[in-house]
């Protein structure tokens, strides 16, 4: 299945793009996506934290993705 990845902050620099589409196995979870990303982009490993959002809410590793899901990578936030 195809999902869309959207990146902000340092995640955008690591992916070298703001948005990309990504092919994942059906029924993949956020945890699966995280593993794939860590393997392909080892720089994510060095971050203080790595969170993901779907539907404008933080989601945990068990959250199951579907065809067309839009997943936002949330690297450590630093507002204020």
């Amino acid at each position: 299945m195809k999902i869309k990845i959207i990146a902000y902050g340092i995640a955008k620099d690591i992916l070298q793009t703001k948005e990309m589409s990504y092919e994942l196995n059906d029924d993949s979870s956020i945890g699966n996506l995280k593993n794939v990303l860590l393997e392909k982009y080892p720089k994510f490993e060095a971050l203080a934290s790595l969170r993901f959002a779907v539907g404008e809410e933080y989601q945990d590793d068990e959250f199951v993705l579907e065809e067309g899901s839009e997943v936002v990578i949330i690297p450590p936030v630093s507002g204020g």
Partner: protein
């Protein structure tokens, strides 16, 4: 309550004016400004970016929690994004309560939680490079 994220300069007086309430004896305002150095290195400017719709949602959650936990009458949070020069205001939080103690506590909670949960990122631009703040441990 009033939650806003925008590119233009923040008018702190306006933020405070919004929370003014005759039932309140205390308004606490936190103003976060751009510092000219980090760990001894000169900062040239900051660049803020936000995942705006989610950032608004998370700021609303903070505001709702505050309204539940403290007797807050009015609350405003304005966060700026884009390029900011030294000394400019990045965030302004104003909270009005009948009594000051609650307003101080609620305001501290607001900025502390904002820094943990709200998807906003800042990049420090130095003379010789740039760093996403807090990205690495």
């Amino acid at each position: 309550m009033e939650i806003k994220i925008y590119n233009n300069p923040i008018n702190v007086e306006e933020v405070e004016q919004y929370v003014y309430d005759p039932n309140c004896g205390g308004i606490v305002t936190f103003i976060g400004t751009v510092r000219n150095s980090t760990k001894g290195k000169n900062v040239v400017r900051l660049e803020f970016e936000a995942y705006v719709p989610m950032a608004i949602k998370e700021l609303n959650k903070i505001a709702e929690t505050i309204m539940e936990k403290w007797p807050v009458k009015k609350l405003a949070i304005h966060h700026r994004i884009g390029n900011l020069e030294i000394g400019e205001v990045a965030v302004a939080i104003a909270i009005a309560c009948p009594h000051r103690k609650n307003a101080f506590e609620a305001c501290a909670y607001a900025i502390d939680t904002l820094k943990e949960t709200v998807p906003i990122w800042k990049k420090e631009i130095f003379e010789d490079g740039e760093v996403w703040v807090s990205a690495h441990p």
